[in-house]
């Protein structure tokens, strides 16, 4: 077998990392850069720090080795490669029963993923950004699912607290929403009531009420 090609990536903080071609190709962005002829020298990644790139490379290496071992067991599943979020829906077509080796591989991968994504919030967001920029679908889905798990079951205010989000609807936006939907006719007393209830919420009361009404079925 011909020796695998190696590429060098440089992060925004000046560090370089060497990776095999198969690992590099997990990133669509890097793959395109190489195919466009930019692989001979360093491949600069100005948007990615070393800390995060290490994590990304760890993912890519696992992805490659997992794919290789799934090919060996004769019913290796292409679906696993894509880490499809649609799996959540009821599996309409029964999956062909995997043999013991395949089952073990899938179990091990799940465990690895759980450990891999057990990271603090800031690292998670940086990873999301990096996965988006480097266009690594599986990593993006895994990280997005982790973020989603932190959102599920929370109220808007709780979500804002968790992620330190500033509520920032402007008066203009409110006006726009109000014009589009003329169902808005509370008394000043009602406005005041609502305003008190949502004291630190930067939506204007009318605006929040509008949104709340429209989506009352979910928020109430």
């Amino acid at each position: 077998m011909a020796s695998a090609k190696v590429f060098v990536l440089r992060t925004c903080d000046g560090e370089t990392f060497e990776i095999d071609e198969s690992v590099a190709y997990v990133s669509e962005t890097i793959k395109n850069m190489i195919e466009d002829g930019f692989g001979h020298d360093l491949i600069p990644l100005p948007n990615v720090s070393s800390k995060i790139l290490l994590k990304v490379i760890e993912y890519c290496r696992k992805h490659v080795s997992n794919f290789e071992s799934s090919k060996k067991t004769s019913n290796g599943d292409e679906k696993d490669k894509d880490n499809d979020s649609w799996k959540k829906e009821k599996e309409a077509v029964p999956e062909v029963e995997k043999d013991a080796e395949e089952k073990a591989r899938v179990e091990e991968l799940k465990e690895w993923e759980t450990t891999f994504i057990d990271i603090d919030q800031q690292v998670l967001f940086d990873l999301l950004q990096a996965a988006n920029y480097l266009n690594i679908k599986g990593l993006l889905v895994m990280a997005a699912e982790k973020a989603a798990s932190m959102i599920r079951g929370k109220t808007p205010e709780q979500i804002r607290e968790t992620f330190n989000i500033k509520n920032d609807f402007t008066p203009e936006e409110y006006e726009d929403i109000r014009k589009k939907d003329a169902m808005n006719d509370f008394t000043p007393e009602e406005y005041e009531e609502i305003r008190k209830k949502i004291a630190d919420n930067h939506f204007t009361p009318e605006e929040y009420e509008q949104i709340r009404k429209e989506n009352a079925w979910a928020i109430e």
Binding site: K90, N132, A144, I151, K154, E214
Partner: protein
């Protein structure tokens, strides 16, 4: 969080999937609201997501779903799976389908519509890749005008469709790979219930709760076939040597014809009446067979036996063997004759429905033939009201297994009783 691009937020919201969670999250700030409106690609209304769905009237639910879908743009995956809803009216359902027509790739829908809506016709065709439909009907397929160039996976559950339409439907899906039919209501044109299906691309087929006089299936690329709870008088399967997995559970077939079985890897047959010589002839050329399961099978001819010698000779790659059927003296004695070992069998699963001494003998005989066995699983059926005799039998059986396994200390033993 501020520096995450809005499309990444869209990804996160899409992972949330459940509509209520998405809407709540979208009320946090501008960017999240924009992500919901312009970058959400997956949305799901599932009665399991939120108990309040059950308390809401159907018309209110229609409004909720409409309002939520219409605030998005570019939805790719839509799932409306509501077991408690009797039926939706046609107008909102049509609205949902038409609104998402240009971008929809996956649709999952299981609620009756009244008057009936031809979902298959109304939903976007150009990009649709996966369609799971239940409790609806499909009519008037016109393959010349209607093509589904990207459809890969089709699942129809309790759907009424004519045999002809189903045949035409497959021809209008040039890339279809997975087909699942569960409890279909097949309208037949003539008195005989016949179905002829043909697809060069189908890889994975599953039929459940189907009853036909005659089924002819031609699938050159078929890799996996699963039949469950089907009654077929005549089943002719034409494949081109790609078939790897064959599974039949509670199937009654009088005439079974399957050609080109050389590459079969898994054969799993349960609760099936077998004409063993014929069945065996069908699979005898499958030298690549890795897993063989004959569970709760009844032999058409009482004198038929499954002899291990033939299995050992014809299936040298066999690694997983599961057998459970009525044992008679002849079965145990003649079935175990022969010198050839099952060299590669690592897992052995043996089951009884009525405990007897014969079973212990059978287990012993099989263990001798599997020199490289790693695991033995014994499945037993234990009746609720146990007579003294049964308890005695079970006790004897336990003792004999303990004695037996002392000779095979390296083999892991598991028991599963029901």
């Amino acid at each position: 969080m501020e520096c995450l691009p809005v499309e990444v937020i869209g990804n996160i919201l899409s992972q949330l999937g459940a509509a209520r969670d998405v809407v709540i999250a979208s009320a946090t700030c501008r960017k999240w609201r924009e992500a919901y409106r312009n970058h959400l690609h997956t949305l799901s209304f599932n009665s399991n997501d939120w108990p309040v769905y059950r308390d809401v009237t159907t018309s209110r639910l229609e409004i909720i779903i409409t309002q939520t879908i219409f605030q998005t743009r570019g939805l790719q995956c839509l799932s409306i799976f509501m077991d408690d809803v009797d039926q939706f009216s046609a107008a909102p359902v049509i609205a949902w389908l038409m609104y998402t027509r240009e971008t929809l790739r996956r649709l999952l829908y299981n609620v009756r519509t009244t008057p009936n809506v031809n979902i298959f016709e109304k939903c976007g065709r150009q990009k649709l890749e996966v369609l799971h439909l239940a409790h609806n009907s499909i009519t008037g397929i016109e393959p010349n005008y209607q093509r589904y160039p990207c459809l890969k996976s089709l699942s129809l559950s309790c759907v009424s469709i004519s045999a002809l339409d189903l045949k035409l439907l497959l021809t209008s899906c040039p890339k279809i790979e997975v087909l699942s039919l569960v409890s279909p209501e097949i309208a037949m044109s003539d008195s005989q219930a016949t179905m002829e299906l043909s697809s060069p691309t189908l890889k994975n087929i599953c039929f459940e709760a189907m009853s036909l006089d005659k089924l002819m299936l031609e699938a050159d690329s078929l890799e996996s076939l699963c039949l469950k709870n089907c009654t077929l008088e005549f089943f002719d399967l034409i494949v081109k040597g790609t078939l790897k997995h064959l599974k039949m559970d509670e199937v009654s077939v009088l005439h079974l014809e399957i050609e080109n079985t050389e590459n079969l890897e898994v054969v799993d047959v349960s609760s099936f009446t077998i004409i063993w010589p014929k069945f065996y002839q069908m699979i005898s050329r499958s030298s690549q067979l890795r897993r063989l399961r004959l569970w709760g099978v009844v032999f058409d001819d009482e004198d038929e036996i499954v002899d291990l010698e033939t299995i050992a000779v014809c299936f040298p790659q066999l690694s997983h063997l599961s057998l459970s059927y009525d044992l008679r003296d002849g079965v145990v004695y003649y079935g175990l004759q022969g010198p050839t070992q099952l060299e590669n069998v690592a897992v052995l699963e043996l089951g009884w429905t009525v405990i007897s001494d014969l079973f212990s003998q059978w287990v012993a005989g099989l263990l001798e033939r599997c020199p490289n066995l790693i695991k033995l699983v014994i499945y037993g059926v234990v009746s609720e009201a146990k007579t003294n005799e049964e308890c005695h039998m079970l006790a004897n059986f336990t003792s004999s297994i303990v004695r037996l396994m002392r000779k095979y200390m390296h083999v892991e033993v598991q028991f599963e009783y029901e």
